[in-house]
């Protein structure tokens, strides 16, 4: 059954990347527990707008947990308290009446803040552009059944490909490492026969781009896996390390 709760929000407000930010306090009154977390922010924002005040900026789009656009840290947890859940799929029944929620953006050197809770994740695009693909021209593909793929490899590739690129792994990691994100793409393509020709070169250039973007190292905290809304496994990181070794030996 839905009910109404009152909350206090402490939200990070920062006008842009050049200005420093600070927490501001907002009451969130009469919040229906059936609301999603983002709908709760909508309600707070509608009130701010009506008063002529600047609403809280936050990225979002699909609100179904698949586009990877949303994301913020709630009381220290990336995407909030529920496992395998993006903030757009988090519901207010998860919180108790009277609670205070501290809401912050992803914090990482490689993700500069744009405004309030919105950050710039273009570093991820540049890492993919460094090699996260199979170089096949449109029209040049053989029949889809020309190369069978063992079901197990296809399933594992799909597990890795489920990554939505939200950046929670980076935000949750004490070193702001992007290893989970990068390794998911490296794994997907390394597991498929189509990915073999560029396998060595791909991992080397993606990792080198990752390093140059200012992401930190992985020191096995596993926070990335715990925060991942799509349950991407840290096994991918181990696989990526093996791929790197393999590429090193072969070059």
């Amino acid at each position: 059954m839905s009910k109404k709760i009152n909350l206090t929000l402490k939200v990070w407000r920062q006008p842009d990347n050049r200005t420093s930010g600070r927490f501001e306090v907002y009451p969130a009154q009469d919040i229906d527990t059936d609301m999603s977390f983002l709908e709760m922010l909508d309600v707070v924002n509608d009130e701010l707008e009506k008063e002529g005040k600047d609403p809280i900026a936050f990225d979002h789009d699909c609100r179904e947990g698949i586009c990877g656009m949303c994301g913020c840290v709630i009381n220290g947890q990336a995407h909030g308290p529920d496992a395998a859940t993006t903030v757009c799929q988090l519901h207010m029944r998860r919180f108790q009446d009277g609670m205070t929620l501290v809401i912050e953006p992803w914090r990482a050197k490689a993700f500069p803040i744009i405004k309030d809770l919105a950050v710039d994740r273009s570093a991820f695009d540049r890492v993919i552009s460094a090699g996260g693909y199979i170089s096949v021209r449109t029209g040049a593909a053989p029949d889809a059944h020309a190369v069978p793929v063992p079901k197990d490899s296809a399933d594992q590739a799909m597990d890795a490909a489920a990554c939505i690129g939200c950046g929670a792994c980076v935000a949750a990691c004490p070193n702001a490492s992007a290893m989970l994100f990068v390794s998911a793409k490296v794994s997907q393509l390394a597991l498929l026969p189509q990915g073999q020709p560029e396998r060595d070169q791909r991992v080397v250039s993606m990792v080198s781009q990752m390093d140059s973007e200012g992401f930190g190292n992985c020191s096995n905290h596993y926070e990335c896996e715990a925060s991942c809304p799509k349950e991407i496994s840290i096994k991918n990181i181990a696989r990526m390390n093996r791929e790197l070794t393999r590429a090193g030996v072969r070059s």
Binding site: G68, S122, I128, A130, Y133
Partner: protein
């Protein structure tokens, strides 16, 4: 004005092949001289941008989101059709063509649909080569599932994330071209207007959503792949940023808008549960394979579903359509649910829902079998509704899902405005009055990978397109207009939030121009929409500055365009006094209450010309001729 569809002559199965040969080519060295703007990075836009860059064109790619990978296509769940006939169950290009024309209730262009079916097979090859992890069987070959409106198994899928995987494939092709230097990315840019010079589409004016700057971009051709307009209803299954702005702005610059009233309402979505609701969530159509739909027989019966005995339940689809039962097409299932709720049989706290019950399937097959078929959907339902669908029936209600209407294009995907090409959900071309499941993904990728790479070259090779710079007065004028409009929005200083007025519009559209439409309701809507628009321009409060990251301003601009476009949609619905596919006019039904087409008077595409203010619509008709498929009345009894 005569609308020339440019459909090639000859037998249907040879049209595209012949046309490809007849199209003029741009020689490889010259391609580099041409710049192409692609707005949108969904399946249609990303595949087009990547493929054109591979050919040697210089491409600029724009999207609203922070990365091209996040376009709305990412949310598609079920699958993508292709006439591979890997199942040996009698599928063929012709059958896919036939099913699609029939599914569209005979309101699409035959030649386009046939081409779509032809290239569908290449799409699957291309995606597999890119590393898209489609579901496979133990032998390592691709698996298929069945979808509505077809008697063969031709749907390819990647778990419940087919759209995501196809989009990531197209995105990877795009990023490969970014690396090569053929594509320049412009994320977090919103197209505010189209620039026309010398009667040709020559560029766009965008707002940089981070800095607020107004930028101009010039090119030799402009491609819009900006998706559908379902959010004119406020609540829909579309992502929040889906909008009509790019298409509407192009329409105001002279491109015709075709069949805006063709909107698809999906029968199985999670119902509205509060005024604060921001969007609706789809529950896959596959659930209707095992779920039984019912409502209490007695009006206003508010007992718990478990307390309502069998004799007090009305399994209305099974009763009304004994041969198709719960598997009637989307439009029929949706209208019946509405009918039940309108007559007081709806359930849930709002009375705007019907039950989708798995009790019998669980009794018959066991809970674990149901879990393995639909586990992720049940989990999503439970997360949103906080009720366990294994224990009590799901509550569902129809919701706006897809828009078949869009900018008018010819066989080459070019609008009536030379140089402006339109791809994917943003055009009107292939689905007629109703789209079959798993066909939108197919169309987006067909347009981008396999049609536009041929037809764009023909345009550039046969038209004189002079060089133009963004300093030209045409650009400066449009920039000024865009800036003025932003200024105007920020100076309204009223009392209401943008969302509130968008919701007002949505309720009105849903009420008068939703699942069922009639003359007096539509006329009433035509009176009321201008009032809501008035309220917006007098009483909304858009805060913040133009020169900053300002989401309030972004939303306001989109809603302002919906407020104009909504009127055209209703106008089209009023003009089309027949029922067809997703467009149900209560005046035009069979004796048993089914949609009744009027082929004599309405077998045409309605292409609307509007003026610079978005008003005074003038109707241009493109007659639809059916050479292959004969027109019949659909029946599912």
């Amino acid at each position: 004005m005569v609308l020339d569809s440019k459909v090639p002559s000859g037998p249907i199965s040879e049209k595209w092949t012949k046309h490809k040969f007849d199209l003029k080519l741009v020689n490889p060295a010259n391609k580099r001289k041409f710049e192409v703007i692609v707005v949108g990075t969904g399946l249609a836009g990303a595949s087009a941008a990547a493929s054109l860059s591979e050919l040697g064109y210089r491409v600029k790619s724009f999207c609203i989101q922070d990365s091209p990978r996040r376009a709305h296509s990412i949310a598609a769940q079920g699958g993508i059709n292709a006439a591979k006939n890997y199942q040996n169950d009698g599928d063929s290009v012709y059958r896919l063509f036939y099913d699609t024309v029939k599914g569209g209730d005979y309101r699409s262009r035959e030649a386009n649909v046939h081409r779509l079916a032809e290239v569908s097979v290449n799409i699957i090859d291309q995606c597999v080569a890119q590393g898209v992890p489609f579901a496979r069987e133990y032998g390592g070959l691709l698996d298929n599932r069945s979808f509505g409106g077809a008697q063969v198994s031709r749907t390819f899928y990647a778990r419940g994330q087919t759209g995501q995987q196809l989009l990531l494939g197209a995105y990877s092709a795009l990023m490969k071209e970014v690396k090569r230097g053929g594509v320049e990315l412009y994320p977090r840019r919103e197209m505010l207007d189209l620039v026309v010079a010398n009667g040709q589409a020559r560029g766009i004016v965008v707002r940089n959503l981070v800095t607020g700057e107004i930028e101009s971009h010039a090119a030799h051709a402009v491609l819009l792949a900006t998706g559908g307009y379902g959010n004119v209803f406020f609540l829909s299954t579309n992502a929040k940023a889906c909008n009509v702005t790019a298409a509407w702005r192009a329409a105001k610059r002279g491109a015709f808008f075709a069949n805006p009233c063709y909107t698809q309402i999906h029968p199985t979505c999670i119902p509205v549960h509060g005024d604060y609701q921001s969007k609706l969530t789809l529950m896959s159509e596959s659930l209707r394979n095992d779920g039984r739909i019912w409502v209490p027989k007695k009006e206003g019966d508010n007992r718990k579903p478990s307390e309502i005995p069998e004799q007090d339940r009305d399994y209305y689809l099974e009763r009304r359509y004994p041969s198709f039962g719960n598997l009637v097409p989307r439009d029929v299932a949706s209208r019946n649910a509405k009918d039940m709720c309108d007559t007081g049989h709806g359930v849930g706290s709002t009375g705007q829902a019907v039950y989708l019950d798995f009790r019998d399937a669980i009794d018959r097959l066991g809970e674990s079998a149901i879990r393995s078929r639909y586990g992720n959907l049940f989990q999503m339902y439970e997360k949103i509704v906080d009720e366990n669908p294994y224990k009590s029936p799901m509550m569902i209600y129809p919701a706006v899902h897809y828009t078949m209407g869009g900018l008018w294009v010819d066989y080459n995907l070019m609008s009536n405005l030379p140089g402006l090409h339109v791809l994917g959900e943003a055009n009107f071309s292939d689905h007629g009055a109703n789209r079959l499941g798993a066909s939108a993904l197919m169309q987006g990728l067909a347009d981008g990978y396999f049609v536009i790479p041929y037809t764009l070259g023909h345009y550039l090779a046969t038209h004189k397109v002079e060089d133009i710079s963004t300093d030209a007065p045409e650009f400066k004028e449009v920039e000024k207009q865009a800036a003025n409009r932003i200024e105007k929005l920020l100076n309204i200083n009223g009392k209401r939030a943008v969302n509130e007025i968008h919701r007002d519009l949505g309720l009105l559209m849903w009420d008068k121009c939703g699942m069922a439409r009639n003359e007096s309701g539509l006329k009433d809507a035509l009176k009321k929409i201008p009032e809501v628009r008035e309220e917006f321009w007098n009483n909304v409060n858009v805060v913040g500055s133009p020169g900053s990251f300002n989401q309030n301003l972004e939303r306001a601009g989109r809603v302002a365009d919906f407020l104009e476009f909504g009127e055209l949609l209703v106008h089209d619905a009023l003009e089309r006094a027949e029922s067809c596919g997703g467009h149900f006019r209560e005046e035009s039904q069979t004796e048993d209450g089914e949609a009744k087409r009027d082929d004599e008077n309405f077998c045409y595409v309605a292409a609307w010309e509007i003026d610079q203010d978005g008003g005074n619509p003038i109707l241009h008709k493109e007659p639809l001729e059916f050479e292959e498929v004969s027109l019949t009345q659909r029946s599912y009894k």
